[in-house]
């Protein structure tokens, strides 16, 4: 009876690997609310979401590359967020190109172009993803600082709205929701099936006729596109173009993706999981801030959560592969 329950629990965690993370996120949210009753009130939501959006988008922007398998990872996402904010605030707005109809597409284009280059390095030239995007990390950091040595502020009204409210809707919500809209559209095309197939079993996908290289390039381009949104979120939240602010997101973003149940070997996971993972890390940070304890503690805590998450996901995939192996031995 107990083993039956365990099997069912494992089974449902297998199909929804982010379920556990969601439970943790809810607990952390309640804890935040208890620690500081002004944490989430009706009026504080917009600013809370605006604060959360850059990091949430960094985590979301790291996800498609990991889903594409073969050690797929993009560690240049943090500096890419910086670069986009620098281009929007330090270049476009500072030089008088203030229309959002130009600035927003430009931000997205910069992100997607950088992602596409990473994708070609990994998918066609077969560089190891960690190395290719590590180079990207240095190049993008350097580029951001070359364009703008120190943070530059902006009081452009559309950016201010995006950091607060656009009409009745929190700007942060719009920013965070936009990758999900793209994802929903993709789910109605043939692309997502192929992305998960390439990440799940590259050999099977290739021999079945999937164009593995193009699927990978697209995954990195999507990651870059979402990072473009993240760059806008960064500029909106801080009202500045900052060449260094998001660099610190790089590793926590990877942690958030892993906590959200996305497999580091590819083929399993979701954007939603990464959002929840990012919420956990964000909520630990805010909780520590409201409790006024030593600022080194948060890293310790999400390190510990990460260990639990990784052990759990390894156990899950092992039980799954063992179940599959019992059959394959019969080959």
């Amino acid at each position: 009876m107990r083993t039956d329950l365990r099997a069912r629990l494992l089974g449902s965690l297998q199909t929804r690997p982010w379920a556990l993370a969601l439970v943790i996120a809810v607990i952390l949210f309640v804890a935040n609310q208890l620690a500081r009753s002004s944490f989430a009130t009706w009026s504080s939501w917009p600013s809370l979401l605006a604060d959360f959006a850059p990091f949430a988008l960094a985590a979301i922007a790291t996800t498609p590359q990991m889903l594409s398998g073969a050690g797929g990872i993009d560690i240049s996402i943090g500096p890419l967020l910086n670069l986009v904010s620098v281009v929007v605030v330090g270049e476009l707005i500072a030089r008088g190109t203030t229309s959002p109809w130009i600035d927003v597409p430009a931000a997205l284009a910069v992100g997607a172009a950088v992602g596409c280059v990473n994708g070609i390095l990994v998918g066609v030239l077969r560089y190891q993803a960690v190395l290719a995007t590590l180079c990207g990390l240095f190049v993008l950091s350097g580029l951001g600082q070359a364009l703008l040595a120190t943070p530059a502020a902006s009081s452009q009204s559309w950016l201010t709205h995006l950091g607060a409210q656009v009409g009745p809707v929190p700007g942060g919500l719009i920013l965070i929701a936009s990758p999900f809209l793209v994802w929903l559209v993709l789910a109605r095309t043939a692309y997502l099936d192929q992305l998960y197939a390439v990440g799940g079993d590259e050999v099977a996908a290739y021999s079945a006729g999937v164009d593995v290289a193009r699927v990978r390039i697209t995954a990195y381009t999507l990651g870059g596109l979402f990072a473009g949104v993240g760059g806008l979120a960064l500029a909106a939240a801080t009202q500045t173009g900052d060449p260094t602010e998001a660099t610190q997101y790089t590793l926590p973003a990877i942690a958030a993706v892993a906590i959200g149940g996305t497999s580091l070997v590819g083929g399993r996971g979701s954007l939603l999981g990464s959002l929840i993972g990012a919420a956990i890390i964000f909520l630990i940070q805010t909780l520590i801030d409201s409790l006024n304890v030593n600022s080194n503690v948060p890293q310790l805590i999400y390190g510990a959560i990460l260990i639990v998450a990784i052990v759990l996901s390894a156990t899950l995939s092992r039980t799954a592969s063992r179940a599959a192996e019992g059959e394959t031995v019969a080959a």
Partner: protein, 525 residues
Amino acid sequence: MAVVDPSRAPAAPSGARPAPPLLRVQEVAKSFGATRALRSCSLEVAAGEVHAIVGENGSGKSTLVKLLAGVHLPDAGTIELTATPSPGRRSPRSVQAAGIFTVFQEVLVVGGQSVLQNVWLGSDGLFRRSVSESAQRARASEVLGELLSAPPPLDAPVASLSLSERQACCIARALVRSPRVLILDESTSALDVATRDRLFTVVRRLCASGGAVIFISHRMGEIDELADRITVLRSGESVASFARGEATADELVRQMTGSDHLTAGTERAPAGRGGATSGRILLRTRALRLRPGGRPIDFQLAAGELVGLAGLEGHGQHALLDALRGAGAVAGDVSTGDERLLRSPQDAFAAGIAYVPRDRRDESLFPSLAISENFGVATMGADRRAGLFSRRRSAARLANYVSELAIRLGSPRQPITALSGGNQQKVVVARWLAAHPAVLLLNDPTRGVDLGAKRDLYRLLERLSSEGVGVVMLSTELDELVELMDRVLVFREGSVEAEVPRSELSADGLVRRFFGGGGAQSDAN
């Protein structure tokens, strides 16, 4: 691409006129590093025919299939599909666009995805679906319904399916796209009997409507039942092609082994070592099963015995070797002569069982280390002096084996990669001999080894055997099995098909048993 292809006219009744060739392969060759997997293979596949390709291990069947499927590119030669212009750069995708679909020996499904996703895998553009989802569902159910008496739900995860059902998904993946040429590479081995029969019906209908099927199977019965033409591959060359009924099973076996083996079989020297076996049992298995449903194996290895393991690739001979070295089996146990159970490779090593793996590069060599280090890794304890490792002692120990095995090397400090394949293998063998094993297990040790080194290894095995070491050797070289072994176990579909004593060993007899034939008519000429 249309789901069903109404434009395909029904073919003329077979035999009325010679059908035009649909696929023409001319003198294709392919090498992997120093190994020439395919030297020169030519064949023509006519519309409407089932074209079987037979050959023993290493004859190049799988390589040919991978070239046809676009997984590898040929080094030389041409592959053309006469009805459509050849694809530019060959890849699985471009080859499929030309109408060639392949079902591989391995069951290539994406475990995390559904039956429907797996059946249509690879058919779509990057974003655009080739066929609407509702049409996909209809077509997938139709094809799966033809293959399986109880098709799984289309949304079931493929990981929950049986092996036979998963292979049926791979076959359906080819069939839903209305292939012009369907390649089945040992695809029937993972299928249950009912599914296989249903597949044969589908294959016949495909041929009747003007398609063609290339069929590779290790089951002579299936080839007899289905094939209109049989091409024989031997050592990477297409050596003969027969129309249905033109060749007897014996003739096929003769073509597969090559006529040179025939004399080797009759002129073989009588058992050379004069009954060195003392009868003492070194290793035994009890009710060992290599796969679920396999026949149990009760095997005993006596001191001084040389036992060969043979069979077509992947029929259980590797699994037995793994079981003997303590790496596990589905059921049953392995123990030493004095009844110590072997539960892990560590147990086996402690009990004096040494194993020389098949793949030198991946499983036995340390390419970045020197020759002497590669030699000494398994027995470093013997090189201790005052508790520290002594390089000189290691070199001195190696020197014994250098002369004994005739290893040709400059200095033991050279990197192992400086040696030829044969000498690398000798170093690996020396590594395990230095542990003074009671039993030596060898996994195809002469693969990719030059003739001189092979002879040295044969001499070594005979000497070990006369000293009472028990040897079990898996080999893909028929000649060495025939000439060297006291007995040979032939594996087929996970069980021991036959145990052939030395007095009855012949290359033809072994190959006939690989394909499930008896050994009785081995002296047909």
